[in-house]
């Protein structure tokens, strides 16, 4: 056995030596035979000739002898590859075009796959991530609402299917006493939030259960970023105190970088504080959701359905025990990963499909190139076949070439991909979850190797099969011109396929362009240009101040901001600011009895604003009046509604003068005006949301209770141009009142809208790039094929012209040939697009998936490109000089 292996290895590595031996052995035979013939009386020349004839085809004997050595396949492969390399060196232009085509196709695919892999396929970076779920309280018309704290506590206690449950709530603190006062992002979390996810602080510890309660000594975890910024990453930060909203918290641990649970309202934060220490009476209110969002870890083996059923049971018990707040409310359990990346699933698969089309077109193009070139080698192949080369051997030879070119393209493609992914992510700032996990890891590399092999095979297959099927005698007879009609048919099919694929991509891209166009046309209900919004936080010392003092400070700041030169109108806005914040309240119409439970009440989006809000945002007043400075805490309560509210609750009456109630105490609020509807939920999503009615309340009328401990408020301002200098002058005015006042997170409303469209713009940009690449490849492909056909028929055209055909006829002949291929492709493409664009329906807005205008325009565009691609070869065909063409023979 060992000697057998040795023999084979020897055969492989000492190939030339063994070839020499074989030659010598056969030569010896012929010489002996010649000698024998001479001995029989032939002349030496005759003797040798007879010996050679007797011996027969020596090449075949050689081949068969090599065959039995058992290393034939390996040897041939090596030979084929070397042959391929030689060919590549011989025609660098051809090689460059093929490699570039492969690199583009493979690179784009690897880039998209690396995103898809990191976002959708890889498990979340937590231990046993499949056990992680998000928890929501559901209302009849809203599945994924926030969970009131008492309900959360009961769910945690009464469930049987969870090993742990936690809640989080986004907040913010003013960090003072450590350099420049700073607004830091923060999360309230329940004690076992981090251990539930399997995140260990480094250094330090997470919260102990006893710390997650009111009155416990204040403790905090800090993010690695804040640790570096304020403490220079020194490990002795543990046990130190930090001042958050004028209260000292002991740092007990540091949360590592890169921890970012991209779900609900959770944000990567600078500070984490136990939620039990949140000193708001609302926390104990079973009717107040307070934007608390839950996460849970299922016990091993428990399914989401079982957990759902379990929590349904607990919620039913709670509804029975607390009907006023809980009737009609349920629970919703969703897999965490689905919640984080689920909405991206269709987009990413669509993009992978689109980029797959580009690769197919690249394949077809390379196939075409190989086919065209193999025509030039028809004679070579025919001769090799005549000398005894097997069909499979010839197929393999052609395949080896494309299989060699594909990996080179793949290598280049990987470079392109790693660069392209970074570029693509730049298009999608911060809105793509798990972007930090994207990279060229093992699955991505495996994918790259896989598709490059597949691509090489696919591109080489058709030419290889074609090559091997050529009839020897015909090929030689035709003087190496090959059996042109058969191959031309194959190329016609290729061109049609390319055009069809390109059309599908172009239609997809066209629909996305129309979608974005339609979205930009959507009136958001306000004029976003020149509007800036930012957060204003009062000095932490105001937290303990009397409400009257807070009210006075806020009014002073509001007046101060409004009087900054360059600020045309400004207003505080607390609550449902379009596309930024959410806030809703229960209410009922004052002329109707109060409903028994909250679930029977109406809800509306509520924003507390100042008189300058309409002017700042550019919202039109439709009826009545907006707020005045006199509408304050002492005047009779008034509200302003939007048109959507008016349509829904007062369809046949003038709402101005009508009254609504939020609670039993005091006077009912009178509606004094109606304003235009604002697209609260984004340009695209607003129409689908059930909660549309909007309600404005005067900020100045906010009751004392609500002002106690107010930390901050959002400001919107319409300015004369959005410059950093203007923002700085606002900051100076704000800090001139109190140096510990902070303004932070400036954003223009145009940015806010752009971010809300970012995901769609991302898909549109990529689809456009892919479609452009497809159009280019298809155009080049068609041009190549027509040029080639014209070249093949030069002789024929020459004869035709000599026999009296007019150039116009030749022109028409070539053009009609090309256009026929293109039109067949267009028709197939239209049919395919009709089927495939349906899958995009969810991504479209304001345009149907089978929009006739888009389909028509794209079909015309492609036909025009096809025409252009045929034009040059067609003109060239008319210029054939009959004499030259005929002399060619």
């Amino acid at each position: 056995m060992k000697s057998e292996l040795w023999r084979r290895l020897r055969a492989l590595f000492r190939r030339s030596e063994m070839e020499g031996e074989l030659d010598e052995e056969l030569r010896f035979h012929v010489e002996k035979e010649t000698e024998r013939n001479v001995a029989r009386g032939m002349s030496p020349g005759e003797a040798r000739r007879v010996a050679l004839v007797e011996f027969g085809g020596s090449e075949r004997v050689r081949e068969e002898c090599r065959d039995v050595r058992g290393v034939r396949p390996l040897e041939d492969l090596w030979q084929d590859f070397r042959y391929g390399l030689r060919l590549m060196r011989k025609s660098p232009g051809f090689t460059a075009v093929v490699v570039a085509t492969f690199a583009l196709g493979i690179g784009a695919n690897v880039a998209i796959f690396s995103v898809l892999n990191a976002v959708l396929l890889k498990p979340l970076p937590y231990p046993q991530p499949e056990q992680l779920v998000t928890l929501h309280q559901s209302k009849p018309n809203f599945d994924t609402g926030a969970v009131p704290y008492p309900n959360f506590l009961d769910l945690r206690k009464e469930n049987r299917t969870f090993s742990a449950m936690a809640v989080t709530r986004t907040t913010g603190f003013s960090l003072t006493g450590a350099g420049e006062p700073e607004r830091v992002s923060a999360q309230y979390v329940s004690a076992d939030f981090f251990s539930l996810l399997g995140i260990d602080p480094l250094p330090g510890r997470t919260f102990a259960p006893g710390e997650d309660e009111r009155g416990a000594p204040p403790v905090a975890l800090i993010g690695a970023d804040l640790w570096r910024r304020k403490f220079n990453s020194a490990p002795d930060v543990l046990g130190k105190g930090i001042n958050l909203d004028d209260r000292s918290y002991t740092v007990v641990g540091v949360i590592p970088v890169g921890f970012n649970l991209r779900v609900n309202v959770f944000r990567q934060s600078d500070v984490y504080v136990p939620i039990g220490q949140w000193e708001t009476p609302m926390l104990q209110n079973r009717g107040a959701a307070l934007s608390l969002h839950g996460v849970g870890r299922l016990k091993p083996g428990v399914t989401v359905e079982q957990a759902q059923a379990d929590l349904d049971r607990v919620m039913r018990d709670l509804a029975a025990a607390y009907p006023a707040t809980n009737s009609g409310n349920g629970a919703k359990v969703l897999p965490l990963k689905e919640r984080i990346v689920g909405r991206l699933r269709p987009t990413l698969w669509m993009l992978l499909g689109a980029v797959g089309f580009v690769l197919l077109i690249a394949c077809v193009n390379v196939s075409n190139l190989l086919l065209a070139r193999s025509t030039g080698r028809a004679r070579e192949f025919a001769i090799r076949a005549a000398m005894g080369a097997g069909r499979w051997r010839l197929i393999r030879q052609t395949l080896a070439e494309s299989l060699l070119l594909a990996p080179i393209g793949c290598g280049l493609g990987l470079l392109l991909a790693s660069w392209g992914t970074r570029a693509a992510l730049g298009l999608l700032p911060a809105t793509l979850p798990r972007a930090e996990e994207i990279g060229l890891d093992a699955p991505v590399l495996l994918f790259a190797v896989g598709i490059s092999l597949l691509t090489g095979l696919l591109a080489g297959l058709a030419p290889a099969l074609k090559t091997s099927r050529w009839r020897l005698s015909e090929t030689l007879k035709e003087g190496g011109r090959g059996a042109s009609s058969g191959r031309a048919r194959a190329q016609g099919v290729f061109v049609a396929v390319e055009i069809a694929l390109a059309l599908v991509l172009l239609v997809g891209a066209g629909l996305m362009i129309r979608t974005l166009g339609a979205l930009w046309e959507v009136d958001p209900g306000f004029r976003p240009n020149d509007v800036l919004t930012f957060n204003l936080n009062l000095s932490p010392s105001m937290r303990t101040a009397e409400p009257a003092a807070v009210r006075a400070a806020l009014r002073e700041l509001s007046d101060g901001i409004s009087s900054v030169p360059g600020v045309r109108a400004a207003s505080f806005a607390d609550g449902a600011v379009p596309m930024l914040d959410e806030n809703d309240l229960y209410f009922w119409l004052a002329d109707q009895p109060k409903p028994a439970t909250t679930s029977e009440m109406h809800t509306a989006l509520v924003t507390e604003v100042e008189p300058g809000y309409l002017a700042a945002m550019g919202i039109p007043l439709k009826r009545g009046r907006f707020f005045a400075r006199q509408d304050d805490e002492r005047s009779p309560p008034v509200v302003v509604i939007d048109e959507s509210f008016a349509r829904k609750y007062f369809p046949n009456a003038d709402p101005v003068g009508k009254r609504i109630r939020f609670d039993d105490e005091g006077d009912a609020s009178q509606i004094v005006g109606v304003v235009g509807h604002v697209k609260q939920w984004g340009l695209d999503a607003d129409d689908e949301q059930s909660l549309q009615s909007q309600l404005y309340v005067p900020f100045r009328a906010v009751p004392d209770d609500a002002l106690r401990g107010v930390g901050g408020v959002r400001v919107v301002a319409r300015m004369d141009g959005l410059t950093p200098a203007l923002f700085d002058s606002i900051r100076r005015v704000v800090q001139s009142r109190n140096s510990q006042n902070i303004i932070s997170r400036p954003q223009t409303m145009e940015e806010v809208i752009a971010v809300s469209l970012a995901a769609r713009r991302f898909s549109m940009t990529l689809l456009n790039v892919f479609a452009a690449a497809a159009l280019l490849l298809a155009g080049v492909g068609l041009y190549g094929v027509i040029s080639y056909l014209v070249g093949q028929r030069t002789h024929e055209f020459g004869i035709r012209l000599a026999l009296g055909a007019r150039p116009r006829d030749i022109f028409r002949l070539v053009l009609s040939r090309g256009l026929t291929m293109a039109l067949v492709g267009v028709v197939i493409g239209l049919a395919a697009a009709l089927g495939l664009t349906r899958l995009m329906t969810g991504m479209l807005y304001g345009v149907s998936a089978t929009d006739p205008a888009t389909f028509t325009i794209i079909a015309m565009l492609l036909t025009a490109v096809a025409l252009l691609a045929c034009l040059i070869p067609a003109i060239r065909a008319t210029k054939v000089d009959p004499m030259v063409a005929l002399r060619d023979e």
């Binding site: 010598e24 056969l26 010896f28 027969g56 065959d67």
Partner: protein, 109 residues
Amino acid sequence: MNKKTDLLQGTLDLLILKTLQPGPTHGWDIAQRIRQVSEDTLSVNQGSLYPALHRLEAQGWIAPEWGESDNNRRAKFYRLTAAGRRQLAAQTEAWERFARAVGLILQNT
């Protein structure tokens, strides 16, 4: 005119092994001997002979050695190996059984 008989599949191996039994020799000589001994009835085509030799070599039944031929030229000699000898015995027996069976049928029907 053509009195030559085509070799049955597999018999060439047997003939080569048998020819090598007396001692090592080269390819041409093997072909000559088969032709002479069979009184010109069996002629081995070189197109089959050399692949067969290489195959037998690959199977380890014969071993090559380079040596001097009668007129001092380098030639590739083949030698029967021990495994080849066993194979020769087995194939000879199989062939005789086969020939006897064919003979019986030809005589009795």
